[in-house]
């Protein structure tokens, strides 16, 4: 357990000092502040536009940060052989992966929280008060990002950062369209429906974490809106990290 914390601490330090992170974060801040302008040309719908663009921006930028940092996370360790230095110490592969996961998760979560603070300030400044409902959306975002980090880590155990990034983005789009897939086969035959259902349940459904659209209209999320996605993310991440460990072990041989 202590090993996981140690590795997490160091992964956090390594990732949080990465210059790319600062660049992306700066862009994110610029974007969040620019939503003020977009709001002002919306003919009186300022607060809504600012909220929508703010939440969308936080989402987009946290995905970008995760892709940039996550897809090279394990790859770098293999390339630079730092992985070997660590594994020659009394550390297991599982401890190593969990440490990397939690370290990166902490980095990205910190960025999300900072962006959220800016967003809340912008909404308040625009007269929208303290947007506490958006915090539920941010909570689910953090769990969606945890799942996405696991995906990126899995890919980074066997692909280059570029390939891993492409796969991750593809999975991101698929993850948001799974519901549409089921709609699409509504009027098809049983075989198509079966196949679609298999795909639907196996691939990660990222829409489950999306309550942005209702939260902006003042609709409170229910208990199950919050609990199920958190459970889903935790279980799915565990499976993905286990797969990543298997993938790493295979490469050692």
């Amino acid at each position: 357990m202590k090993n996981i914390l140690t590795i997490a601490k160091n992964t956090f330090k390594e990732t949080i000092r990465d210059k790319i992170l600062y660049g992306i974060f700066a862009f994110a801040l610029l974007f969040l502040l620019s939503t003020i302008f977009f709001g002002s040309i919306s003919l009186g719908e300022d607060v809504k536009v600012v909220k929508d663009f703010g939440l969308a921006g936080i989402y987009a930028f946290s995905i970008i940060i995760t892709v940039f940092l996550g897809t090279s996370l394990i790859y770098k360790e293999i390339e630079k052989r730092t992985l070997y230095v660590i594994l020659s110490k009394p550390v297991t592969i599982i401890q190593f992966l969990l440490g990397k996961f939690f370290g990166l998760f902490a980095s990205v979560s910190l960025n999300i929280l900072l962006m959220t603070i800016v967003h809340l300030a912008v909404v308040y400044f625009k007269g929208g008060g303290f947007d506490y409902l958006s915090l539920w959306s941010i909570l689910l975002l953090i769990f969606e990002i945890a799942l996405f980090i696991s995906i990126a880590i899995l890919f980074s155990t066997f692909s280059t950062p570029l390939a891993g990034a492409i796969y991750s983005i593809i999975l991101l789009y698929i993850g948001h369209s799974l519901g549409l897939l089921l709609d699409y086969v509504k009027n098809s035959g049983a075989l198509a429906k079966f196949f679609a259902n298999v795909v639907y349940y196996i691939l990660p459904n990222l829409e489950k974490f999306n309550i942005r659209n209702s939260v902006v209209h003042g609709i409170h999320p229910t208990g199950s809106d919050i609990i199920y996605p958190i459970l889903y993310s935790s279980l799915y991440s565990i499976i993905l990290l286990w797969l990543a460990a298997t993938s790493l072990k295979k490469q050692e041989i």
């Binding site: 140690t6 160091n10 390594e14 070997y84 230095v85 020659s88 110490k89 009394p90």
Partner: protein
């Protein structure tokens, strides 16, 4: 004591290491030699538990590798580290992975000549400095057994002398050192025993002086390889 019995490693039909058997007594400096691609690094990886042997047994202190990680130190060939950490942060990181008590970081850095670079980011280190840090992290836990892959690579003559002194001192403390090298003059200077591997097979193991006879180690080595 390190006991290696019939160690083999095969990667999809390529026999990288074949039927290797060695015994290294405690408190010795053992030099593992061989031309490039002979299987030295693969052997060392198996010894420190980074690679699983295809067959054969490795025993350190009469038990298997994985139970012994607290007792060993490993320095990989051409070591790389985390660019954004300082030397101190990195060694602290390594230190925290051990349950047992470890040595003081400042002393270790002093020993390897990196005291001034304690708070410097690793990405600013020269090759020689990285080698020194590599040794530092290998001895941070005061290991009984040290496995070093080309430890003198990239060091200037002064650095090489300093490292060799460190090895001899460690030997005095009763540590066992197993290192890969192809710089034979260094091996000649500090090793008690050597092993020579060529194309995955062990072609000599034993006393250095006996092997050399009247020749230099380099001459004896080349002769052995050409003859075999």
């Amino acid at each position: 004591m390190i006991n290696i019995t019939k160690l083999s490693k095969t990667y999809s039909k390529d026999k990288i290491v074949e039927d290797l058997s060695l015994t290294i007594n405690k408190g010795q400096i053992f030099g593992f030699l061989g031309p490039n691609g002979a299987g030295k690094t693969t052997t060392m990886k198996m010894l420190v538990g980074l690679s699983t042997p295809s067959c054969g047994i490795i025993e350190i202190n009469n038990s298997s590798i994985n139970k012994n990680k607290e007792l060993i130190g490993y320095m990989p060939e051409d070591p790389y580290f985390y660019d954004h950490l300082t030397a101190k942060e990195f060694l602290t990181f390594m230190q925290e992975l051990f349950k047992n008590k470890t040595k003081d970081i400042q002393n270790i850095l002093k020993l390897v000549g990196l005291e001034k670079a304690m708070h410097q980011k690793i990405q600013e280190f020269s090759k020689g400095m990285k080698q020194r840090l590599g040794l530092a992290q290998a001895i941070i836990n005061d290991p009984q057994y040290l496995f070093l892959d080309e430890p003198l690579d990239g060091l200037d003559p002064i650095g090489r002398r300093e490292f060799k002194e460190i090895f001899l001192n460690l030997k005095k403390e009763g540590k066992t050192i197993f290192f890969n090298s192809h710089v034979l003059s260094d091996v000649e200077e500090i090793c008690d025993q050597i092993g020579i591997i060529n194309k995955g097979k062990l072609i000599y193991s034993g006393d250095v002086k006996t092997f050399c006879g009247k020749k230099s180690l380099e001459d004896a080595f080349v002769e052995k390889l050409i003859n075999k």
